[in-house]
Amino acid sequence: MTILEFSLLVWVGSVAAGFLGALTGLGGGVVLVPMLTLLLGVDIRYAIGASLVSVIATSSGAAAAYVKEGFSNIRIGMFLEVATTLGALAGATLAARISAGTISIVFGLVLIGSAYLSRRPRPKNERDVPPDPLATRLRLNGSFPDADGIRNYNVQHVPLGWTLMFGAGTLSGLLGIGSGAMKVLAMDQAMKIPFKVSTTTSNFMIGVTAAASAGVYLARGYIDPGLAMPVMLGVLAGSLLGTRVLVKADTKWLRRVFSLVIVVLGIEMLYRGLSGRI
């Protein structure tokens, strides 16, 4: 395969990964790394480096659309980014110390876990929780536009949310994914932040988290321009296209198929890691 053929192949695959990732809300990274390693035989460390870069691109590219809606909370985002960036540094440091096989096993488990999370029904957000003293002191409580005007919300369980965010950052730095599913879980389930606020704030945080580990990966020589170039351009194009289609398309069956694909990829990553064929 020539360089041009290889680049085109990776580009096409990345467009598909970015497109599906945006449509299903799972992000391009979860399918990108398995695609590069399982189908194209790329070493998992190169694949993770390229994926991290694409995660920053999609998160930052989608920010404009999210800001227009007015749901994201910059204080919650900034406060939790302390946890995710510290976690990302830890994850990137860990990635250099453990074997490719172990990374593959963790990746497989995370894939299966995120497929499960994406299948859960979305909460209705009718809950009203009392103000929490710590959250109030940190000025995390906020408001967002609703059908009947401005709705205020309170934030709960700050230490638990912070700890989960550190974990999400570690996974992001270790596996080169945005780990949006876990970030939303921490905000929506643990901290009782409304779902819409959780998803949009999570998107903002993904780019900053990935940037923290990308610096380490770059310095360590895990980011190869020849591979990261088609991946970044492809995922960016695919996700922008996916966000456009998302508004019109019925994504229910697509979500179902995609989570099945992710489970299969997860099992394969798990198997390869356990059998040492990676």
Binding site: V42, G61, F79, E81, G207, A212, G221, P225, G226, L227
Partner: protein
């Protein structure tokens, strides 16, 4: 007072989202330019991605990437574009410090500064030249 804060928050978010879009667009254009040079030049050895070797030292540090990019090396220019992309969320955090300062929110000036320090450590602490 509360609505005043909300309004400044909104304005801050709009500026931030424009900043992010600009950063992504700029880095994508630089990567694309580097890609053309990289693909047109045929004498690059084909990298075998199945075996992990790690990048040469000039593609690992800010100084090395700048030198390669100025020499119009395709791989160096792509790497410069990726560096701009990594810098985009960093610029976002830096701008937030300014925004929080304008709101006289001392606590969040400190929080955002901590995030910026962690990012700076990741980018520069490992290798600068």
């Amino acid at each position: 007072m509360a609505s005043d804060r909300d309004w400044t928050d909104r304005r801050m978010e709009v500026v931030i989202s424009n900043l992010l879009r600009f950063g992504v667009l700029l880095s994508a254009l630089v990567v694309l330019f580097g890609a053309v040079l990289y693909l047109v030049r045929h004498d690059y050895p084909h990298t075998d991605y199945r075996v992990f070797r790690g990048e040469p030292s000039d593609l690992r540090s800010v100084g090395g990437i700048l030198r390669d990019a100025l020499a119009l090396d395709g791989r160096g220019i792509i790497q410069l574009g990726l560096l701009l992309l990594i810098a985009t969320p960093v610029a976002r955090v830096a701008f937030s410090i300014f925004g929080f300062a304008e709101e006289h929110d001392r606590m969040y000036v400190i929080v955002a500064s901590i995030v910026l320090l962690i990012l700076a450590y990741s980018l520069l602490g490992s290798a600068w030249l």
